[in-house]
Symmetry: C2
Subunit: 137 residues, 2 copies
């Protein structure tokens, strides 16, 4: 099933997601304030790229948030991710919103606000710990 | 089985690993050039913390690389991670070395050098993609 996915932030994670999800046939738009970062996507990217402040209502509408199935807010700034997630939830009633946690100390804020998250640091620590502890004696 | 684990870099990933592995009973040392970052570990951390250049032979010896079962080089700088991994392998014959990939473009360098890696960005993109595509219609 083809999804409409709005990605906020075109850093390494945002750009990787945009490329992979677009390659899988989904409709993808990416919003970032920095044109250079949007350039990382290259000419192979079929989705929409938009330069603008990530939590600006008009920019989000232009990115297609009204028809979005998913909003992935994956900037390196937790405050931006929280703000965008709340706008997506309250103003646009987006069915599913996932935000990246950067500072593990902010985890409880996301939890209190009921925002689904992904934490690359925690995920990597978990995988590394499993690799270490599964090492044969 | 208790492992001796040398962690290079005390950013978010290094500090999380240090705390979790130490809490699990492993012997952990952490090397970072920035004292402020080592301070993140807090007083609850039972391992060794060392301030110094990450790829300096003497610093690595002081961190216990000679008796290390694992070296985890998880700085945000791929060149440091590659250098440390090669020193650990060639000079100290560490049984297992895992490096963090920061720039996905450097993946092939790690592969060519035979360095085991973890890529937080790739891992997170994979998990997010699974979450999106497993969504019930």
């Amino acid at each position: 099933m083809i999804m409409y996915i709005v990605i906020i932030g075109c850093g390494r994670l945002g750009a990787t997601l945009a490329a992979e999800l677009s390659d899988s046939g989904h409709d993808v738009s990416v919003l970032d304030r920095d044109a250079a970062r949007l350039g990382i996507l290259g000419s192979g990217f079929n989705g929409l790229r938009l330069k603008g402040i990530e939590f600006d209502n008009d920019n989000l509408v232009e990115a297609g948030i009204k028809q979005a199935d998913f909003v992935l807010s994956v900037t390196p700034d937790d405050n931006i991710n929280i703000t965008v997630s709340l706008i997506a939830k309250k103003n646009f009633n987006v069915p599913r919103i996932i935000a990246r946690i950067n500072d593990p100390g902010k985890k409880s804020v996301y939890e209190m606000l009921g925002i689904e998250t992904i934490n690359p640091t925690e995920l990597s620590a978990y995988i590394l710990k499993s690799r270490i502890e599964e090492t044969p004696v």
